[in-house]
Amino acid sequence: MPDQPSAANVTYRQALRDTLRAEMLRDENVFLMGEEIGLFEGSYKITEGLLKEFGPRRVRDTPIAEEGFVGAAIGAAMLGLRPVVEIMTINFSLLALDQIVNHAAKIYGMFGGQASVPMVIRTPGGGGQQLGATHSQNVELFYSFVPGLKVLAPSTPAEASAMLKAAIRDDDPVLFLENLALYNTKGPLPAPVEEIEPAEIGRAAVTRPGTDITIIGYSRMARVAAEVAETLAAEGVSAEVVDLRSLRPLDRETIVESVRRTGCAVVAEDDWLTYGIGAEIAATIQEGAFDWLDAPVRRVAMAEVPLPYAKSLETAALPSADSLLTAVRATLRATGRPVLETTP
């Protein structure tokens, strides 16, 4: 499977796969571990063709033992290798929570900086696939809470490539969060994959400048936010979109700088609202832009239920472009500014 020419649109999946390959070609210390990533070529085919090309030493199928193989990756990283672990979905990462939180995140500090853990855990989250309550969660908060970890959540193929490179070359443990709903989405790459520059970890991006309201999202919801901003533009509303890209560290400056210009904000998140990522964003805004706010910060988040299987219920529970539009309009009305549109 050759790399795509830079001008063409590639899928998020393809960008990830080609970036893994490029990094493995660049650095012999980079190797892959995970369930079904070799012979099966990945549950979501991110590692397609890589076993054939690199062999079982560097593309290592693991038993179903998240705690064991994540811990093994940490140990290998302590000795200078750069393991990239795939956990089939973020739901299963909970089985490795002790290794991620109590070990990967602690080893550098707890031993006074004597050993670092240059490891990446790639794992997709996201609902909307009718996979039921245990296979549809967005528990990025669990990791974003922990000093010592870095948590990235790119929303486009170009970002996925640049951020995966940065994650692999970083000396700290990085949770690299993908999203089931993004794998087939397409976007342009700025250059052939091997020439893409690694992103700077910890920087949000203003992906669409605007003046009336700030919409803050990440991963799938950053794309939904872009779509909503497009709809709003047609109605004469200028929405600014901030794609967080990195949940830890969090780029508070970019968020606050944007809200100070627009005077109001809505956070779009795929996780649950209570104690979720949006709560931290809202708290950040009130501390950094209180005097600039014309309306309370609203959050669009998943309904607080274990996500049901039935399509009708699942759809109702998940944030969407419609629900985000509703919250944005309500926030604009709450500012007391002259209303630019009349849609109820």
Binding site: F69, G112, D171
Partner: protein, 363 residues
């Protein structure tokens, strides 16, 4: 002197219960080596006694687990390693740090929480680490170190090195999922790692019989087609020889090994535990199991170390331990200005470096 078992026929083999395999005939070490082992054991004994004292003087905080009774196991295991071999261990690890070649002063300073400690005061008693000595950590979470050790062995194997990784754990660890997952992975991937279960009969106060459906813990190797053995942990030569077999097999054949040592814990689980769950008889019996007293007697009977020479050694290591405590006491506490130095190895923008009352935004 160890009972050994190949995986497949393990169940068919007979075991000798408490596995009290004692060395008979000529000891497989010369007088100088034996005295050296005894001295190391004595150093650990005096170090731990000094640590217990410092704990009651509130010089040491947190938890403090001692190797009292485990000295022969510690010294025997470490004698089987080359300096380049890696060690992962748990929270009862002061003695291992000393026997791996780290100075008593830097170990004691870590217990005191000083910047001169092996982990610069960030780890404490449970989290000793020294990259140079290749002690890759004491770990406070039961079983947490076991997958890490498998991974370190994977790295050795990946790079084509000939180092061996040794990984210690207590008997209670054999009940945790990470133990099973790691031994399975090590067996599957032919990793050069020696898992050592230091069986002192008690996980805190719970007996092995009350926590393990197969209380002959070394037999668990059979589930992973892993060679395994059980050895008397009060006999330094038996431990060393069993560990050598395990380590050199791992080195030569890149195969994992499971070694169990039967090693008494003379005192409570930690310094603050009076071990009231132990009967009077049990406590009396422990005196007979003291590996240090036993070795002293054996060396004296063999004409290798007289009572006077023993006293001289004791004075020597006691002075060393006292000096370590003085060094620790005189060492500076870490500066508060270094609080944010070790969160990330690769610095990042946007990292909050705030103390509890500081605002998120300073402008």
């Amino acid at each position: 002197m160890a009972e050994t078992t190949q995986a497949a026929p393990a169940r068919a083999r007979r075991t000798r219960g408490n596995g009290a395999a004692r060395p008979k005939a000529a000891p497989s070490a010369d007088a100088g080596t034996l005295i050296g082992y005894y001295r190391q054991m004595l150093l650990i004994r005096r170090f731990e006694e000094r640590a217990a004292r410092a704990y009651t003087e509130a010089k040491i905080g947190g938890y403090c687990h001692l190797n009292l009774g485990e000295e022969a196991t510690v010294v025997g295991l470490m004698a089987a390693l080359r300096p380049a071999d890696y060690l992962f261990t748990n929270y009862r690890e002061h003695g291992y740090a000393l026997a791996k070649g780290i100075g008593a002063d830097r170990v004691m300073a870590e217990l005191y929480g000083r910047s001169t400690g092996v982990s610069k005061g960030w780890g404490g008693s449970m989290h000793l680490f020294d990259a140079e000595a290749r002690l890759l950590g004491g770990y406070g979470i039961v079983g947490g170190q076991v997958p890490l050790a498998a991974g370190a062995a994977l790295a050795v194997s990946y790079k084509g090195g000939d180092e061996v990784v040794m990984c210690h754990m207590g008997d209670g660890t054999t009940a945790i999922g990470a133990f099973h997952e790691s031994l399975n992975i090590a067996g599957l991937w032919d990793l050069p790692v020696v898992f050592v279960v230091i069986n002192n009969g008690l996980g805190m106060g719970t007996t092995v019989e009350n926590s393990a459906a197969e209380p002959e813990l070394y037999r668990r190797g059979a589930a992973y087609r892993m060679e395994s053995a059980r050895v008397d942990g009060t006999d330094v030569l038996a431990v060393r020889d069993a560990a050598r077999t395990a380590v050199e097999r791992a080195r030569a054949e890149s195969r994992p090994y499971l070694l169990e040592t039967l090693s008494p814990r003379l005192k409570g689980h930690s310094v603050v535990d009076p071990a009231r769950y132990r009967s009077k008889e049990e406590k009396e019996g422990l005196k007979a199991a003291d590996p240090l007293a036993r070795m002293a007697l054996e060396l004296e009977e063999a004409g290798i170390l007289s009572h006077d020479e023993r006293d001289r050694l004791d004075a020597e290591v006691t002075a060393e331990v006292d000096a370590a405590a003085a060094f620790a006491d005189a060492s500076p506490a870490p500066e508060v200005s270094t609080l944010f130095d070790y969160t990330y190895a690769t610095p990042v923008p946007g990292e909050l470096r705030r103390l509890p009352a500081d605002p998120v935004f300073r402008s």
